[in-house]
Protein backbone atom coordinates (compact mmCIF):
# COMPACT_ATOMS: atom_id res chain seq x y z
CA UNK A 1 0.00 0.00 0.00
CA UNK A 2 3.07 2.21 -0.08
CA UNK A 3 2.19 3.69 -3.48
CA UNK A 4 -1.28 4.72 -2.37
CA UNK A 5 0.21 7.47 -0.26
CA UNK A 6 1.47 9.60 -3.10
CA UNK A 7 -1.63 10.10 -5.19
CA UNK A 8 -2.41 13.68 -6.16
CA UNK A 9 -6.05 14.27 -7.10
CA UNK A 10 -4.91 17.19 -9.28
CA UNK A 11 -2.65 14.93 -11.30
CA UNK A 12 -5.19 12.13 -11.63
CA UNK A 13 -7.88 14.59 -12.65
CA UNK A 14 -5.64 16.27 -15.23
CA UNK A 15 -4.71 12.92 -16.77
CA UNK A 16 -8.32 11.75 -16.92
CA UNK A 17 -9.43 15.02 -18.41
CA UNK A 18 -6.71 14.94 -21.05
CA UNK A 19 -7.69 11.37 -21.98
CA UNK A 20 -11.35 12.32 -22.33
CA UNK A 21 -10.49 15.42 -24.36
CA UNK A 22 -8.14 13.55 -26.71
CA UNK A 23 -10.62 10.74 -27.20
CA UNK A 24 -13.48 13.15 -27.94
CA UNK A 25 -11.32 15.07 -30.37
CA UNK A 26 -10.40 11.91 -32.24
CA UNK A 27 -14.07 10.91 -32.47
CA UNK A 28 -14.94 14.38 -33.69
CA UNK A 29 -12.13 14.06 -36.21
CA UNK A 30 -13.64 10.91 -37.67
CA UNK A 31 -17.01 12.57 -38.02
CA UNK A 32 -15.59 15.67 -39.70
CA UNK A 33 -13.39 13.49 -41.88
CA UNK A 34 -16.43 11.59 -43.20
CA UNK A 35 -18.28 14.81 -43.72
CA UNK A 36 -15.26 16.25 -45.52
CA UNK A 37 -15.05 13.30 -47.90
CA UNK A 38 -18.78 13.43 -48.48
CA UNK A 39 -19.28 17.11 -49.15
CA UNK A 40 -18.03 19.52 -51.80
CA UNK A 41 -18.61 20.71 -55.33
CA UNK A 42 -18.98 17.13 -56.56
CA UNK A 43 -21.46 15.29 -54.42
CA UNK A 44 -20.55 11.91 -52.95
CA UNK A 45 -23.51 10.28 -51.21
CA UNK A 46 -22.83 9.43 -47.54
CA UNK A 47 -23.36 5.71 -48.05
CA UNK A 48 -20.72 5.73 -50.79
CA UNK A 49 -18.06 7.32 -48.54
CA UNK A 50 -16.99 4.14 -46.79
CA UNK A 51 -16.79 1.93 -49.90
CA UNK A 52 -14.87 4.66 -51.70
CA UNK A 53 -12.45 4.98 -48.80
CA UNK A 54 -11.98 1.20 -48.76
CA UNK A 55 -11.06 1.42 -52.42
CA UNK A 56 -14.28 -0.26 -53.53
CA UNK A 57 -15.74 2.73 -55.30
CA UNK A 58 -16.06 3.44 -58.99
CA UNK A 59 -13.09 4.96 -60.78
CA UNK A 60 -14.70 8.38 -60.60
CA UNK A 61 -15.34 8.03 -56.88
CA UNK A 62 -11.82 6.87 -56.22
CA UNK A 63 -10.40 9.79 -58.14
CA UNK A 64 -12.62 12.18 -56.23
CA UNK A 65 -11.71 10.75 -52.84
CA UNK A 66 -8.03 9.99 -53.28
CA UNK A 67 -6.90 12.68 -55.69
CA UNK A 68 -9.10 15.62 -54.73
CA UNK A 69 -10.46 15.29 -51.21
CA UNK A 70 -7.86 13.28 -49.27
CA UNK A 71 -4.83 15.50 -49.96
CA UNK A 72 -6.85 18.54 -49.08
CA UNK A 73 -8.17 17.03 -45.87
CA UNK A 74 -4.73 15.89 -44.79
CA UNK A 75 -3.20 19.26 -45.62
CA UNK A 76 -5.90 21.09 -43.64
CA UNK A 77 -5.15 18.96 -40.61
CA UNK A 78 -1.38 19.38 -40.98
CA UNK A 79 -1.57 23.12 -41.55
CA UNK A 80 -3.90 23.56 -38.59
CA UNK A 81 -1.83 21.36 -36.29
CA UNK A 82 1.43 22.99 -37.36
CA UNK A 83 0.20 26.55 -36.91
CA UNK A 84 -1.35 25.66 -33.57
CA UNK A 85 1.82 24.07 -32.20
CA UNK A 86 3.84 26.98 -33.55
CA UNK A 87 1.57 29.41 -31.71
CA UNK A 88 1.69 27.36 -28.55
CA UNK A 89 5.50 27.37 -28.53
CA UNK A 90 5.61 31.12 -29.15
CA UNK A 91 3.18 31.88 -26.36
CA UNK A 92 5.22 29.88 -23.89
CA UNK A 93 8.57 31.26 -24.99
CA UNK A 94 7.50 34.89 -25.14
CA UNK A 95 5.21 34.55 -22.10
CA UNK A 96 2.68 36.48 -24.06
CA UNK A 97 -0.79 34.97 -24.47
CA UNK A 98 -1.35 37.05 -27.61
CA UNK A 99 1.75 35.80 -29.43
CA UNK A 100 1.08 33.95 -32.65
CA UNK A 101 3.20 33.06 -35.68
CA UNK A 102 2.12 36.26 -37.41
CA UNK A 103 4.11 38.21 -34.83
CA UNK A 104 7.36 36.79 -36.10
CA UNK A 105 6.61 38.36 -39.46
CA UNK A 106 6.01 34.95 -40.95
CA UNK A 107 2.78 35.78 -42.73
CA UNK A 108 3.94 39.21 -43.81
CA UNK A 109 7.29 37.93 -45.10
CA UNK A 110 5.67 35.10 -47.00
CA UNK A 111 3.10 37.49 -48.40
CA UNK A 112 5.72 39.94 -49.62
CA UNK A 113 7.78 37.34 -51.44
CA UNK A 114 4.72 35.79 -53.05
CA UNK A 115 3.56 39.23 -54.08
CA UNK A 116 6.88 40.10 -55.69
CA UNK A 117 6.71 36.79 -57.53
CA UNK A 118 3.20 37.42 -58.81
CA UNK A 119 3.88 41.03 -59.74
CA UNK A 120 7.29 40.62 -61.23
CA UNK A 121 7.85 37.15 -62.58
CA UNK A 122 4.69 35.20 -63.12
CA UNK A 123 2.21 37.69 -64.38
CA UNK A 124 0.09 35.21 -66.28
CA UNK A 125 0.34 31.85 -64.58
CA UNK A 126 1.83 31.76 -61.10
CA UNK A 127 2.63 28.13 -60.28
CA UNK A 128 1.31 26.87 -56.93
CA UNK A 129 4.55 25.01 -56.26
CA UNK A 130 6.58 28.11 -56.94
CA UNK A 131 4.38 30.10 -54.62
CA UNK A 132 4.83 27.53 -51.84
CA UNK A 133 8.58 27.46 -52.10
CA UNK A 134 8.79 31.23 -52.23
CA UNK A 135 6.47 31.76 -49.31
CA UNK A 136 8.61 29.32 -47.33
CA UNK A 137 11.66 31.37 -48.20
CA UNK A 138 9.80 34.56 -47.33
CA UNK A 139 8.53 33.36 -43.98
CA UNK A 140 11.84 31.90 -42.87
CA UNK A 141 13.62 35.02 -44.12
CA UNK A 142 11.34 37.36 -42.19
CA UNK A 143 11.59 35.28 -39.03
CA UNK A 144 15.35 35.13 -39.31
CA UNK A 145 15.57 38.90 -39.77
CA UNK A 146 13.46 39.49 -36.68
CA UNK A 147 15.43 36.95 -34.72
CA UNK A 148 18.73 38.63 -35.61
CA UNK A 149 17.41 42.13 -34.94
CA UNK A 150 15.88 41.13 -31.62
CA UNK A 151 19.03 39.42 -30.43
CA UNK A 152 21.15 41.39 -28.08
CA UNK A 153 24.84 40.67 -28.12
CA UNK A 154 25.15 40.56 -24.35
CA UNK A 155 21.82 39.33 -23.16
CA UNK A 156 20.78 36.94 -25.92
CA UNK A 157 17.17 36.92 -27.01
CA UNK A 158 14.62 38.83 -25.01
CA UNK A 159 10.98 38.06 -25.56
CA UNK A 160 9.94 41.70 -25.29
CA UNK A 161 12.44 42.71 -27.96
CA UNK A 162 11.26 39.83 -30.09
CA UNK A 163 7.65 40.98 -29.92
CA UNK A 164 8.46 44.64 -30.49
CA UNK A 165 10.81 43.92 -33.39
CA UNK A 166 8.19 41.62 -34.88
CA UNK A 167 5.53 44.28 -34.71
CA UNK A 168 7.85 46.93 -36.19
CA UNK A 169 9.04 44.73 -39.04
CA UNK A 170 5.48 43.64 -39.75
CA UNK A 171 4.49 47.25 -40.31
CA UNK A 172 7.50 47.80 -42.55
CA UNK A 173 6.78 44.75 -44.67
CA UNK A 174 3.13 45.67 -44.91
CA UNK A 175 3.99 49.14 -46.16
CA UNK A 176 6.12 47.70 -48.95
CA UNK A 177 3.40 45.15 -49.67
CA UNK A 178 0.79 47.86 -50.02
CA UNK A 179 2.95 49.85 -52.45
CA UNK A 180 3.44 46.80 -54.66
CA UNK A 181 -0.22 45.80 -54.40
CA UNK A 182 -1.26 49.16 -55.80
CA UNK A 183 0.69 48.44 -58.96
CA UNK A 184 -1.00 45.09 -59.63
CA UNK A 185 -3.62 44.57 -62.30
CA UNK A 186 -6.98 43.18 -61.15
CA UNK A 187 -6.19 39.59 -62.08
CA UNK A 188 -2.84 39.57 -60.35
CA UNK A 189 -4.41 41.23 -57.37
CA UNK A 190 -7.03 38.53 -57.17
CA UNK A 191 -4.41 35.77 -57.21
CA UNK A 192 -2.54 37.48 -54.44
CA UNK A 193 -5.61 38.31 -52.34
CA UNK A 194 -6.83 34.74 -52.66
CA UNK A 195 -3.53 33.38 -51.48
CA UNK A 196 -3.38 35.85 -48.58
CA UNK A 197 -6.86 34.93 -47.45
CA UNK A 198 -5.59 31.43 -46.81
CA UNK A 199 -6.86 29.00 -49.34
CA UNK A 200 -6.25 25.30 -49.63
CA UNK A 201 -7.63 25.09 -53.13
CA UNK A 202 -5.65 22.98 -55.60
CA UNK A 203 -3.75 21.02 -52.98
CA UNK A 204 -2.23 17.78 -54.31
CA UNK A 205 -0.29 14.83 -52.91
CA UNK A 206 3.18 16.40 -53.37
CA UNK A 207 2.10 19.04 -50.83
CA UNK A 208 1.22 16.29 -48.37
CA UNK A 209 4.47 14.47 -48.97
CA UNK A 210 6.41 17.65 -48.29
CA UNK A 211 4.48 18.93 -45.30
CA UNK A 212 3.85 15.65 -43.48
CA UNK A 213 7.46 14.92 -42.52
CA UNK A 214 8.16 18.54 -41.61
CA UNK A 215 5.20 18.76 -39.27
CA UNK A 216 5.58 15.34 -37.68
CA UNK A 217 9.32 15.56 -37.13
CA UNK A 218 9.08 19.11 -35.76
CA UNK A 219 6.25 18.05 -33.49
CA UNK A 220 8.25 15.12 -32.16
CA UNK A 221 11.28 17.28 -31.46
CA UNK A 222 9.15 19.92 -29.77
CA UNK A 223 7.42 17.25 -27.67
CA UNK A 224 10.79 16.16 -26.37
CA UNK A 225 11.16 19.71 -25.06
CA UNK A 226 7.76 19.65 -23.36
CA UNK A 227 9.03 19.99 -19.82
CA UNK A 228 11.40 22.79 -20.83
CA UNK A 229 8.42 24.60 -22.32
CA UNK A 230 6.67 24.14 -18.97
CA UNK A 231 9.43 25.89 -17.12
CA UNK A 232 10.27 28.74 -19.55
CA UNK A 233 7.06 30.71 -18.84
CA UNK A 234 8.06 31.01 -15.17
CA UNK A 235 10.64 33.63 -16.16
CA UNK A 236 14.30 33.55 -17.09
CA UNK A 237 15.59 33.43 -13.51
CA UNK A 238 13.25 30.69 -12.40
CA UNK A 239 13.91 28.61 -15.50
CA UNK A 240 17.66 28.99 -15.12
CA UNK A 241 17.44 28.10 -11.45
CA UNK A 242 15.70 24.89 -12.48
CA UNK A 243 18.60 24.03 -14.75
CA UNK A 244 17.44 25.28 -18.15
CA UNK A 245 19.93 26.99 -20.48
CA UNK A 246 17.34 29.63 -21.17
CA UNK A 247 18.73 31.37 -24.27
CA UNK A 248 19.63 28.15 -26.00
CA UNK A 249 16.29 26.50 -25.33
CA UNK A 250 14.37 29.60 -26.35
CA UNK A 251 16.32 29.72 -29.59
CA UNK A 252 15.60 26.07 -30.38
CA UNK A 253 11.92 26.46 -29.57
CA UNK A 254 11.57 29.56 -31.74
CA UNK A 255 13.43 27.85 -34.57
CA UNK A 256 10.90 25.02 -34.64
CA UNK A 257 8.04 27.42 -34.28
CA UNK A 258 9.31 29.22 -37.38
CA UNK A 259 9.88 26.03 -39.36
CA UNK A 260 6.35 24.86 -38.57
CA UNK A 261 4.64 28.15 -39.27
CA UNK A 262 6.71 28.86 -42.39
CA UNK A 263 5.91 25.48 -43.90
CA UNK A 264 2.24 25.70 -43.04
CA UNK A 265 1.86 29.20 -44.44
CA UNK A 266 3.64 28.01 -47.57
CA UNK A 267 1.13 25.21 -48.03
CA UNK A 268 -2.02 26.93 -46.89
CA UNK A 269 -1.52 30.65 -47.16
CA UNK A 270 -2.40 33.02 -44.42
CA UNK A 271 -4.45 31.11 -41.85
CA UNK A 272 -3.05 33.16 -39.02
CA UNK A 273 -5.72 33.02 -36.39
CA UNK A 274 -5.51 29.24 -35.99
CA UNK A 275 -2.32 29.43 -33.93
CA UNK A 276 -3.66 31.85 -31.39
CA UNK A 277 -7.08 30.31 -31.05
CA UNK A 278 -6.13 26.63 -30.73
CA UNK A 279 -3.68 27.28 -27.94
CA UNK A 280 -6.23 29.23 -25.95
CA UNK A 281 -8.90 26.56 -26.32
CA UNK A 282 -6.47 23.78 -25.37
CA UNK A 283 -5.13 25.65 -22.37
CA UNK A 284 -8.69 25.95 -21.17
CA UNK A 285 -9.33 22.25 -21.72
CA UNK A 286 -6.18 20.61 -20.34
CA UNK A 287 -4.18 23.28 -18.53
CA UNK A 288 -0.68 24.56 -19.06
CA UNK A 289 1.47 21.43 -18.77
CA UNK A 290 2.95 20.89 -22.22
CA UNK A 291 3.01 17.11 -22.34
CA UNK A 292 -0.79 17.41 -22.45
CA UNK A 293 -1.08 20.87 -23.96
CA UNK A 294 0.99 20.18 -27.10
CA UNK A 295 -0.90 17.16 -28.43
CA UNK A 296 -4.28 18.68 -27.60
CA UNK A 297 -3.29 21.96 -29.27
CA UNK A 298 -2.20 20.06 -32.37
CA UNK A 299 -5.50 18.14 -32.47
CA UNK A 300 -7.60 21.25 -31.96
CA UNK A 301 -5.64 23.19 -34.58
CA UNK A 302 -6.01 20.36 -37.09
CA UNK A 303 -9.69 19.98 -36.36
CA UNK A 304 -10.34 23.71 -36.53
CA UNK A 305 -8.78 24.17 -39.95
CA UNK A 306 -10.35 20.96 -41.24
CA UNK A 307 -13.79 22.15 -40.17
CA UNK A 308 -13.16 25.63 -41.57
CA UNK A 309 -11.96 24.27 -44.89
CA UNK A 310 -14.86 21.84 -45.16
CA UNK A 311 -17.32 24.63 -44.46
CA UNK A 312 -15.48 26.91 -46.87
CA UNK A 313 -15.70 24.53 -49.77
CA UNK A 314 -19.20 23.18 -49.19
CA UNK A 315 -21.46 25.88 -47.86
CA UNK A 316 -20.86 28.63 -50.38
CA UNK A 317 -21.32 26.59 -53.55
CA UNK A 318 -20.74 27.08 -56.39
CA UNK A 319 -17.92 29.29 -55.16
CA UNK A 320 -15.52 28.68 -52.29
CA UNK A 321 -14.78 30.65 -49.17
CA UNK A 322 -11.03 30.81 -48.35
CA UNK A 323 -10.21 28.74 -45.28
CA UNK A 324 -8.44 31.57 -43.50
CA UNK A 325 -11.59 33.65 -43.60
CA UNK A 326 -13.77 30.85 -42.25
CA UNK A 327 -11.30 30.29 -39.39
CA UNK A 328 -11.51 33.97 -38.53
CA UNK A 329 -15.28 34.02 -38.78
CA UNK A 330 -15.56 31.05 -36.42
CA UNK A 331 -12.65 32.16 -34.27
CA UNK A 332 -13.21 35.83 -33.68
CA UNK A 333 -16.52 35.57 -31.81
CA UNK A 334 -15.24 32.67 -29.73
CA UNK A 335 -12.11 34.61 -28.89
CA UNK A 336 -14.13 37.64 -27.83
CA UNK A 337 -16.25 35.38 -25.67
CA UNK A 338 -13.09 34.04 -23.98
CA UNK A 339 -11.84 37.55 -23.34
CA UNK A 340 -15.16 38.68 -21.91
CA UNK A 341 -15.27 35.68 -19.62
CA UNK A 342 -11.74 36.33 -18.41
CA UNK A 343 -12.53 40.01 -17.87
CA UNK A 344 -15.62 39.06 -15.88
CA UNK A 345 -13.66 36.63 -13.72
CA UNK A 346 -10.97 39.17 -13.02
CA UNK A 347 -13.57 41.85 -12.32
CA UNK A 348 -15.39 39.86 -9.66
Amino acid sequence: MQEKKYVFPAEVKAKKRAAVVILSLILLFLVVFFWGVHTGTIHLPLKRVLPALLNRGTGKERFLVFQLRMPRIIISVLVGAGLAVSGCILQSVTRNPMADPGILGINAGAGLVVLVYIAGFAKDSPSPAGMSILSWVGSIGAALTIYLLARNRNKGLSSTRLLLTGIALNFGIQAITTIITLSLNPQEYQTYAYWMAGSLWGVTWPYVVTLLPIVTVSFMIVSMQASTLDVLPLGDSMAASLGVSVRKRQGIAILFSVILAGSCVAAGGNIGFAGLLSTHISRRLVGAVHKRLLPVTALIGGLLVLIADTIGRSMFLPSEMPTGIVVSVIGAPYFLYLLLRTAKREGS
Binding site: Y6, F8, M238, V244, A288
Partner: protein, 266 residues
Protein backbone atom coordinates in the same frame (compact mmCIF):
# COMPACT_ATOMS: atom_id res chain seq x y z
CA UNK B 1 30.81 19.32 5.06
CA UNK B 2 32.78 22.37 4.12
CA UNK B 3 32.23 25.32 6.43
CA UNK B 4 31.84 27.65 3.46
CA UNK B 5 30.50 25.92 0.34
CA UNK B 6 30.08 29.26 -1.41
CA UNK B 7 32.74 31.91 -1.72
CA UNK B 8 33.37 34.79 -4.05
CA UNK B 9 36.83 35.82 -5.16
CA UNK B 10 37.48 39.33 -6.46
CA UNK B 11 34.02 39.33 -7.97
CA UNK B 12 33.27 42.25 -10.29
CA UNK B 13 29.81 42.65 -11.78
CA UNK B 14 28.69 45.25 -14.28
CA UNK B 15 25.48 46.03 -16.10
CA UNK B 16 26.32 47.13 -19.64
CA UNK B 17 29.16 49.51 -18.77
CA UNK B 18 28.27 50.52 -15.24
CA UNK B 19 30.24 48.70 -12.61
CA UNK B 20 27.85 47.58 -9.90
CA UNK B 21 30.09 45.47 -7.73
CA UNK B 22 33.84 45.60 -7.47
CA UNK B 23 36.24 43.08 -5.92
CA UNK B 24 33.71 41.35 -3.76
CA UNK B 25 35.02 38.70 -1.41
CA UNK B 26 32.37 37.07 0.73
CA UNK B 27 31.86 33.65 2.22
CA UNK B 28 28.51 32.05 2.86
CA UNK B 29 28.47 29.86 5.96
CA UNK B 30 27.09 26.40 5.23
CA UNK B 31 24.01 25.39 7.19
CA UNK B 32 23.26 28.94 8.30
CA UNK B 33 20.86 31.67 7.31
CA UNK B 34 22.59 34.61 5.67
CA UNK B 35 20.76 37.86 4.97
CA UNK B 36 21.89 40.43 2.43
CA UNK B 37 20.70 43.87 3.44
CA UNK B 38 21.20 47.30 1.98
CA UNK B 39 19.46 50.29 0.48
CA UNK B 40 17.67 50.19 -2.87
CA UNK B 41 20.18 50.00 -5.69
CA UNK B 42 22.98 48.89 -3.40
CA UNK B 43 23.53 45.84 -5.57
CA UNK B 44 22.34 43.20 -3.13
CA UNK B 45 20.01 41.49 -5.59
CA UNK B 46 22.68 41.63 -8.28
CA UNK B 47 25.13 39.93 -5.94
CA UNK B 48 22.59 37.26 -5.03
CA UNK B 49 21.84 36.59 -8.67
CA UNK B 50 25.49 36.41 -9.63
CA UNK B 51 26.30 34.00 -6.84
CA UNK B 52 23.40 31.85 -8.04
CA UNK B 53 24.89 31.83 -11.59
CA UNK B 54 22.02 33.81 -13.06
CA UNK B 55 24.33 36.66 -14.05
CA UNK B 56 27.86 36.35 -15.36
CA UNK B 57 30.50 38.35 -13.53
CA UNK B 58 32.75 40.78 -15.36
CA UNK B 59 35.76 39.24 -13.66
CA UNK B 60 36.56 37.22 -10.58
CA UNK B 61 34.61 34.14 -9.69
CA UNK B 62 32.04 32.46 -7.54
CA UNK B 63 33.21 29.21 -6.03
CA UNK B 64 30.66 26.53 -5.30
CA UNK B 65 32.24 23.52 -3.60
CA UNK B 66 35.67 24.83 -4.58
CA UNK B 67 34.86 25.00 -8.30
CA UNK B 68 34.06 28.12 -10.29
CA UNK B 69 30.30 28.16 -10.73
CA UNK B 70 30.65 29.40 -14.31
CA UNK B 71 32.46 26.20 -15.25
CA UNK B 72 29.62 24.11 -13.84
CA UNK B 73 26.60 23.53 -16.08
CA UNK B 74 23.22 25.12 -15.30
CA UNK B 75 21.92 21.65 -14.67
CA UNK B 76 24.67 20.77 -12.20
CA UNK B 77 24.12 23.99 -10.29
CA UNK B 78 20.36 23.46 -10.24
CA UNK B 79 20.86 20.27 -8.27
CA UNK B 80 22.82 22.08 -5.59
CA UNK B 81 21.22 25.49 -5.44
CA UNK B 82 17.61 26.64 -5.79
CA UNK B 83 16.84 30.28 -6.47
CA UNK B 84 13.51 31.95 -5.87
CA UNK B 85 13.26 35.27 -7.71
CA UNK B 86 11.43 38.21 -6.24
CA UNK B 87 8.41 38.08 -8.44
CA UNK B 88 8.20 34.85 -10.40
CA UNK B 89 5.64 34.67 -13.19
CA UNK B 90 2.73 32.26 -13.04
CA UNK B 91 1.23 31.16 -16.32
CA UNK B 92 -2.53 30.60 -16.46
CA UNK B 93 -3.93 27.17 -15.97
CA UNK B 94 -1.26 25.74 -13.67
CA UNK B 95 -2.35 23.86 -10.57
CA UNK B 96 -0.30 23.95 -7.40
CA UNK B 97 0.63 20.32 -8.01
CA UNK B 98 1.84 21.15 -11.53
CA UNK B 99 4.01 23.97 -10.27
CA UNK B 100 5.57 22.07 -7.39
CA UNK B 101 6.25 19.14 -9.70
CA UNK B 102 8.28 21.47 -11.94
CA UNK B 103 10.76 21.52 -9.06
CA UNK B 104 11.71 18.00 -10.13
CA UNK B 105 12.93 19.31 -13.48
CA UNK B 106 16.67 19.24 -12.64
CA UNK B 107 16.41 15.56 -11.76
CA UNK B 108 14.58 14.58 -14.91
CA UNK B 109 16.35 12.38 -17.38
CA UNK B 110 15.15 11.93 -20.93
CA UNK B 111 11.50 11.18 -21.46
CA UNK B 112 10.74 9.89 -18.00
CA UNK B 113 7.56 11.25 -16.56
CA UNK B 114 7.00 11.92 -12.91
CA UNK B 115 7.68 8.72 -11.00
CA UNK B 116 6.52 7.65 -7.59
CA UNK B 117 9.82 8.72 -6.10
CA UNK B 118 9.14 12.24 -7.39
CA UNK B 119 5.63 12.19 -5.95
CA UNK B 120 7.07 11.25 -2.60
CA UNK B 121 9.39 14.26 -2.68
CA UNK B 122 6.61 16.55 -3.92
CA UNK B 123 4.39 15.35 -1.07
CA UNK B 124 7.13 16.07 1.41
CA UNK B 125 7.78 19.53 -0.04
CA UNK B 126 4.10 20.39 0.10
CA UNK B 127 3.66 19.06 3.62
CA UNK B 128 6.65 21.04 4.83
CA UNK B 129 5.27 24.25 3.40
CA UNK B 130 1.72 23.46 4.42
CA UNK B 131 0.43 23.54 0.86
CA UNK B 132 -0.72 19.97 0.40
CA UNK B 133 -4.40 20.86 0.69
CA UNK B 134 -3.96 23.47 -2.07
CA UNK B 135 -2.76 20.91 -4.64
CA UNK B 136 -5.78 21.18 -6.96
CA UNK B 137 -6.06 24.95 -6.80
CA UNK B 138 -4.86 27.17 -9.65
CA UNK B 139 -1.72 29.07 -8.74
CA UNK B 140 -3.00 32.37 -10.14
CA UNK B 141 -6.02 32.18 -7.84
CA UNK B 142 -4.01 31.90 -4.62
CA UNK B 143 -3.40 34.68 -2.13
CA UNK B 144 0.07 36.20 -1.95
CA UNK B 145 1.02 34.27 1.17
CA UNK B 146 -0.19 30.93 -0.20
CA UNK B 147 1.56 31.54 -3.47
CA UNK B 148 4.87 32.29 -1.80
CA UNK B 149 4.64 29.04 0.16
CA UNK B 150 3.90 27.18 -3.07
CA UNK B 151 6.99 28.68 -4.70
CA UNK B 152 9.06 27.63 -1.74
CA UNK B 153 7.56 24.14 -2.05
CA UNK B 154 8.71 24.08 -5.64
CA UNK B 155 12.21 25.11 -4.63
CA UNK B 156 12.18 22.39 -1.97
CA UNK B 157 11.13 19.78 -4.50
CA UNK B 158 14.35 20.64 -6.26
CA UNK B 159 16.06 18.99 -3.27
CA UNK B 160 19.00 21.33 -3.08
CA UNK B 161 20.95 21.89 0.04
CA UNK B 162 21.29 25.60 -0.70
CA UNK B 163 18.31 27.89 -1.05
CA UNK B 164 18.49 31.46 -2.35
CA UNK B 165 15.55 33.84 -1.99
CA UNK B 166 15.27 37.35 -3.38
CA UNK B 167 13.03 39.36 -1.04
CA UNK B 168 10.73 36.49 -0.12
CA UNK B 169 8.52 38.67 2.08
CA UNK B 170 8.21 41.89 0.12
CA UNK B 171 4.66 41.57 -1.19
CA UNK B 172 3.19 39.95 1.91
CA UNK B 173 1.34 41.29 4.91
CA UNK B 174 2.93 40.99 8.36
CA UNK B 175 1.42 37.70 9.36
CA UNK B 176 2.35 36.03 6.06
CA UNK B 177 5.83 37.51 6.26
CA UNK B 178 6.26 35.75 9.57
CA UNK B 179 4.89 32.50 8.13
CA UNK B 180 7.50 32.54 5.40
CA UNK B 181 10.37 33.46 7.70
CA UNK B 182 9.37 30.84 10.29
CA UNK B 183 9.24 28.29 7.48
CA UNK B 184 12.76 29.20 6.39
CA UNK B 185 13.94 29.00 9.98
CA UNK B 186 12.39 25.56 10.31
CA UNK B 187 14.06 24.39 7.10
CA UNK B 188 17.38 25.62 8.37
CA UNK B 189 17.04 24.15 11.85
CA UNK B 190 15.51 20.80 10.97
CA UNK B 191 17.25 20.12 7.69
CA UNK B 192 20.34 22.28 8.00
CA UNK B 193 19.75 24.00 4.71
CA UNK B 194 21.97 26.88 3.78
CA UNK B 195 19.70 29.84 3.18
CA UNK B 196 20.77 33.09 1.58
CA UNK B 197 18.19 35.82 1.20
CA UNK B 198 17.85 39.46 0.35
CA UNK B 199 15.67 41.05 3.00
CA UNK B 200 14.36 44.55 3.08
CA UNK B 201 13.34 44.70 6.71
CA UNK B 202 16.45 44.91 8.85
CA UNK B 203 14.60 43.83 11.96
CA UNK B 204 13.50 40.64 10.22
CA UNK B 205 17.05 40.08 9.07
CA UNK B 206 18.45 40.36 12.59
CA UNK B 207 15.74 38.14 13.99
CA UNK B 208 16.07 35.30 11.50
CA UNK B 209 19.60 35.38 10.10
CA UNK B 210 22.77 34.06 11.72
CA UNK B 211 24.96 36.05 9.42
CA UNK B 212 24.31 39.45 7.91
CA UNK B 213 26.07 41.03 4.97
CA UNK B 214 25.28 44.75 4.80
CA UNK B 215 25.97 46.16 1.36
CA UNK B 216 26.54 49.72 0.21
CA UNK B 217 27.37 50.58 -3.41
CA UNK B 218 28.19 46.97 -4.16
CA UNK B 219 30.60 46.59 -1.29
CA UNK B 220 29.94 44.72 1.93
CA UNK B 221 30.49 47.34 4.61
CA UNK B 222 29.67 45.19 7.62
CA UNK B 223 29.60 41.44 7.86
CA UNK B 224 28.82 39.50 10.98
CA UNK B 225 26.21 38.28 13.40
CA UNK B 226 23.17 40.49 14.02
CA UNK B 227 24.65 41.50 17.39
CA UNK B 228 27.91 42.58 15.75
CA UNK B 229 26.48 44.71 13.04
CA UNK B 230 23.32 46.20 14.52
CA UNK B 231 24.45 49.63 15.61
CA UNK B 232 23.80 53.27 14.88
CA UNK B 233 26.90 53.70 12.75
CA UNK B 234 25.94 50.81 10.45
CA UNK B 235 22.44 52.23 9.92
CA UNK B 236 23.98 55.59 9.08
CA UNK B 237 26.54 54.09 6.67
CA UNK B 238 24.37 51.57 4.94
CA UNK B 239 20.92 53.09 4.92
CA UNK B 240 21.70 56.76 5.56
CA UNK B 241 19.32 56.99 8.52
CA UNK B 242 19.61 57.80 12.17
CA UNK B 243 18.19 55.14 14.39
CA UNK B 244 17.54 54.12 17.92
CA UNK B 245 18.65 50.58 18.77
CA UNK B 246 16.35 48.80 21.17
CA UNK B 247 16.28 45.39 22.71
CA UNK B 248 13.23 43.18 22.26
CA UNK B 249 11.99 42.71 25.85
CA UNK B 250 10.98 39.12 25.07
CA UNK B 251 14.21 37.66 23.73
CA UNK B 252 16.83 40.42 23.78
CA UNK B 253 17.14 40.62 20.00
CA UNK B 254 18.35 44.01 18.78
CA UNK B 255 15.85 46.10 16.89
CA UNK B 256 16.20 49.39 15.13
CA UNK B 257 13.80 52.29 14.98
CA UNK B 258 14.93 54.63 12.22
CA UNK B 259 14.05 58.30 12.27
CA UNK B 260 14.85 61.36 10.25
CA UNK B 261 16.24 64.43 11.98
CA UNK B 262 14.15 67.45 11.06
CA UNK B 263 15.75 69.81 8.52
CA UNK B 264 18.76 67.69 7.93
CA UNK B 265 20.98 68.91 5.12
CA UNK B 266 23.80 66.96 3.61
Amino acid sequence: MNEYRIKTEQLCISYDKTVVVENLNVQIPTGKITALVGANGSGKSTILRTIARLLSPQSGQVLLDGKSIQTQSVKEVSKKLAFLPQNPMTPDGLTVFDLVSFGRFPHKTGFKNIADEDRKIITWAMKTTNTLELESRFVDELSGGQRQRVWIAMALAQQTEILFLDEPTTFLDMSHQLDVLELLKKLNEEQHRTIVMVVHDLNQATRYAHNIIAIRHGTPMCVGTPKDIMNKQMLKDIFGVDAEILRDPRDGILLCVPYRMPEKND
